[in-house]
Symmetry: C2
Subunit: 183 residues, 2 copies
């Protein structure tokens, strides 16, 4: 698994300076910020709370990533290219985000060379993150992946309901419950 959290960067942006370009938005738990199939119009940055990415598979929803405070969240492909998002973005807890439209995103980030380098580096890191996650899936059993998660990202286990974690591990909540039982 490797570090699932570890924000891709601290990204200390002077939000006040760009206040006029950014909307602050607070939503209760279980609120959809982006629906699978829709085009992503906003990039998000989490001020407070917790989001998950998930998609529908044969009627069941499958969670594949979690995000917390100070992390940037978006359906990158959709936000970039205007294609329908392959997944939904939903709040797990009551959450406050900064929402940035594509136009304003470009105004803030593309103008500043320091930021564009940051964006590129973020891409490389995210690629590395997914490749490691993928390797972990091939080589480890669900139980081993759960142990890894406990070790590398205990904050996820503390804050996220267990059935989302089971889904993230690729198993049912019943099976995760059994794994916890025999540990």
């Amino acid at each position: 698994m490797t570090k699932t959290h570890t924000p891709d960067s601290p990204l200390n942006i002077d939000w006040d300076k760009y206040a006029h370009l950014i909307k602050e938005k607070t939503v209760p738990a279980k609120t959809i910020l982006l629906n699978e199939g829709d085009v992503s119009r906003y990039g998000y940055f989490i001020k407070q709370g917790c989001l998950r990415l998930w998609f529908n598979n044969k009627g069941k929803d499958i969670t594949f990533q979690f995000f917390f405070e100070n992390e940037a969240v978006s359906s990158v492909e959709s936000f970039r290219s205007g294609e329908p998002s392959l997944f939904s973005i939903e709040s797990i807890e009551p959450t406050t985000v900064y929402a940035i439209s594509k136009k304003n995103f470009e105004q803030i980030f593309m103008s500043n060379p320091g930021y564009t380098a940051f964006i590129q580096e973020t891409m490389v890191k995210r690629m590395s993150h997914y490749s490691k996650l993928f390797m972990s899936y091939i080589k480890n059993t669900p139980e081993e992946r759960y142990r890894e998660l406990l070790e590398n990202a205990p904050h996820i286990i503390k804050r996220v309901p267990q059935h989302y974690i089971a889904s993230y591990l690729g198993i049912t909540s019943v099976s995760l419950s059994r794994i916890r039982n025999r540990m």
Copy 2:
């Protein structure tokens, strides 16, 4: 799974022009081009043949990606940063590659703006590739992944020995044999 092959680009480079910067190398099957744990000194581009990426996990080797003609292959992290590679690169068939040292790579690619854009786009695509592969792992059974492979990348199944494919699917060759039997 989505398209596992589909080279990230055609990349029509005029090899002759850079012949003095590139080594052509031909190796028999089962030859290691880069050993897990070593630092990647060369990037490769396949002229003819087929390579696999794999790593050792508790004494068993696990294959996680295949590459064919006209595809660029490297241990990106290691090649970029000089850190030990997390995996090995090995030939499956007798294979001919173009090998480019880091220094010459920079000379060819970093000098040409058209190429740097290409490199960035390759990164985004590879990120997307891994994220889709990862999603496929969470949502599908081994049998479903095999069916996807049959549909989206039949050339892999035709050219690669079955036990490598089993490993790639995250199962044993015995289990893959059973899956094929009952299809």
